[in-house]
């Protein structure tokens, strides 16, 4: 633990040094007001790579998280007794403090991308799993009854009726999971996986830097949210139709 903490601390110290070397003390930078526009324009390219890293961290962990949660939800769909233990287990993962999670993993998986993905994925499970289970549970009994009564097998009922009807809840879960992963991924720097967190912690004292790096994270979260809302409209047209 202490070794891991030292590694992380030295990471931050190292980052800080590099950053300061590139920061000249002219004008508004020295002033360190709310936002130094000239500096932002000159230095914007330094945020591109962390931004892309951040994007990959979020996408990969949400996609893997969804795949695992979906599998767990299907597994427990016809075995209701599995729901409490799975909810409990993913709930425990969700409550582990995020920085601690990275540090706990460091001795096992080492520094880097994989460690960050494992932790971030673990955080998405609870939200996505619960939403899929809730979505499936909310399918009206009469709808399922008529599907079975017409001769659908369990599998046909699941894929043709239950899952399509659960899509709104599933997408709602994905939205929450994605937005929170964008925020959590700023801590991936402690696992040595880069991302926008790297820039934020590079110089927490320089406001312009924090505003740009943090702002990009916020924009990314909003963009994901909007995309998922659009996706929902496309996939679930029957939810938005107006009575004629």
């Amino acid at each position: 633990m202490t070794a891991a903490a030292q590694t992380a601390a030295s990471t931050i110290a190292q980052l800080g040094e590099d950053f300061f070397q590139e920061r000249d003390d002219s004008g508004c930078v020295a002033e360190n007001g709310t936002f130094c526009f000239d500096w932002a324009v000159d230095n914007f390219d330094r945020y591109v790579t962390p931004l892309l890293q951040h994007l990959v961290l979020v996408l990969v962990s949400v996609v893997i998280g969804f795949a695992i949660a979906f599998g767990l939800a299907l597994l427990s769909h016809r075995r209701r007794w599995l729901v409490p233990p799975i909810t409990g287990a993913t709930g425990v993962l969700y409550t582990v403090p995020s920085i601690a999670f990275f540090f706990l993993l460091l001795p096992i998986t080492g520094r880097g991308f994989d460690t960050a993905i494992i932790a971030l994925t673990a955080y998405t499970l609870q939200i996505i799993y619960r939403n899929i289970v809730a979505g499936l549970a909310n399918v009206p009994e009469s709808t399922k009854d008529s599907g079975r009564g017409m001769g659908m097998t369990d599998r046909q009922l699941l894929w043709r009726v239950e899952l399509p009807l659960a899509v709104p809840e599933i997408i709602a879960g994905l939205r929450i999971a994605t937005v929170s992963t964008v925020a959590l991924a700023t801590l991936a720097v402690f696992a040595g996986a880069g991302g926008l967190g790297e820039e934020i912690y590079a110089d927490l004292t320089f406001k312009t830097n924090v505003v740009i790096a943090g702002g990009l994270a916020v924009l990314m979260a909003i963009a994901f949210d909007v995309l998922l809302i659009i996706a929902q409209r496309l996939v679930v047209p029957w939810r938005t139709v107006r009575p004629v």
Binding site: T143, S146, G147, G151, T153, W238
Partner: protein, 401 residues
């Protein structure tokens, strides 16, 4: 027997033949329950008839119906559809050949009207062209506008949704249909309309239908035969509506059918089923003295004025009789005018509403056929053999209508 028609290779539309359903001491016991939900139910539903299961809640009527398509597994006994046991087939195959309609329609909210109608044909792997053609046929059959084809259920009225539910059950042209309180969730006015529509549809498609309801009036109206079940899934009586009303098997059935069963019989007849009175007639321009002498000998104390085609114009009042000749427009209007095809219950209701003791009855062309009075109806209700004519289920559509 008829089951051969469903042989492979034949298009299912052609296998429209209705199949008989036979309950053979069918019993359902649930684990932990101290008595069966359905107890040794034995009855035969002939092909093409509507059999209504009716009874108070907890009488097992829905359970009995659901055993037919194995939504509920039979514990003991058997059920034969088209002569073969439902247990001999996989539940999925069996269900695809049996129409299924439930109270809340159970339409798939994420599928359009057309997609909902196509559910069973798709499960049966029909090719696309055949499914499309069938959807068009079904829309016409259930009387739904083609524009509604691509609507989602949420965009339809309750009545339209119910029609789609019925159409979906008919899609693969099953020999048997199960309907569980299909009109239960619809308001009374629309229910009446949907019931009539459904009877008209049934006259066309002639399926064997098992229909569950808790409403005895609906049972009397819809059923060719009625199975009254009592608590514990025991069959109390299996009879035609007229038999049920005339001769309830025991106090339970009598109580369930209701104290107003005499009135309910009226729902089973039309005005033409009864012997009408003859009214003393008068024609415009005729001398009133002639009419007066006729009146002395008549059952009815007023004369009915009719035109040369014997269409009722009105009733002569005492003031009219005081004049020399019969006027073209007598003092009292002929309303209400009843028709021979009117359901007796509605005719009585019209009479009572107009506060009149009798009313002229006309045939399809408006010509006078006789006079119906409250007195005739009441005499009729008191005559025990009046209802022997069991098939006069009056709200059934007329053959030529």
């Amino acid at each position: 027997m008829a089951a051969d028609a469903t042989g492979k290779g034949d298009p299912p539309e052609a296998s429209a033949e209705a199949l008989p359903v036979e309950f053979r001491a069918a019993t359902k016991r649930y684990a932990g329950a101290d008595r069966p939900a359905v107890q040794e139910l034995s009855l035969d539903v002939p092909a093409g008839e509507i059999c209504v299961f009716v009874g108070p809640s907890g009488c097992g009527k829905t359970t009995a119906m659901r055993m037919v398509n194995r939504m509920v597994e039979i514990s003991d006994g058997d059920i034969l559809v088209g002569g073969s046991s439902v247990r001999d087939r996989s539940p999925f195959q069996l269900r695809r050949d049996i129409g299924y309609v439930i109270q809340q329609t159970g339409l798939f909210p994420h599928r359009t009207v057309a997609e909902n109608l196509a559910t069973v044909p798709r499960l049966l792997d029909w090719d696309r062209a055949r499914v499309e053609a069938r959807i068009d046929e079904l829309l016409e059959l259930i009387g739904l506008d083609r524009d509604l084809r691509d609507r989602y259920p949420a965009q339809l009225s309750g009545g339209q949704q119910q029609r789609v539910g019925v159409g979906r059950a008919l899609a693969a042209n099953p020999g048997v249909m199960l309907m569980d309180e299909p009109f239960g969730a619809v308001d009374p006015i629309n229910r009446e309309r949907l019931q009539n529509e459904f009877l008209r549809l049934q006259a066309e498609v002639k399926k064997t239908i098992l229909f569950v309801t808790h409403d005895i009036d609906e049972a009397i109206k819809m059923g060719d035969r009625i199975a009254v079940l009592q608590e514990g899934g025991v069959l109390a009586q299996f009879a035609t509506p007229a038999e049920l009303l005339m001769a309830p098997a025991d106090p339970f059935v009598e109580d369930f059918v209701g104290a107003d069963r005499a009135l309910k019989r009226l729902a089973l007849m039309r005005v033409s089923d009864i012997d009408l009175w003859e009214a003393p007639l008068a024609f415009p321009g005729q001398a009133t003295s002639e009419v007066r002498s006729k009146l002395d000998r008549a059952e009815i104390s007023h004369a009915l004025v009719v035109d040369s085609d014997r269409r009722p114009l009105g009733w002569l009042t005492d003031a009219d009789l005081g004049a020399e000749i019969v006027p073209k427009k007598p003092g009292t209007s002929p309303e209400p005018i009843l028709e021979l095809d009117d359901v007796m219950r509605d005719a009585l209701s019209d009479l009572l509403q107009a506060e009149s003791l009798y009313a002229p009855v006309v045939d399809g062309s408006g010509k006078l056929a006789g006079v119906l009075s409250v007195e005739i109806i009441s005499e009729f209700l008191n005559s025990p053999d009046a209802l022997a004519d069991e098939h006069a289920a009056a709200e059934r559509p007329l053959a030529d209508a």
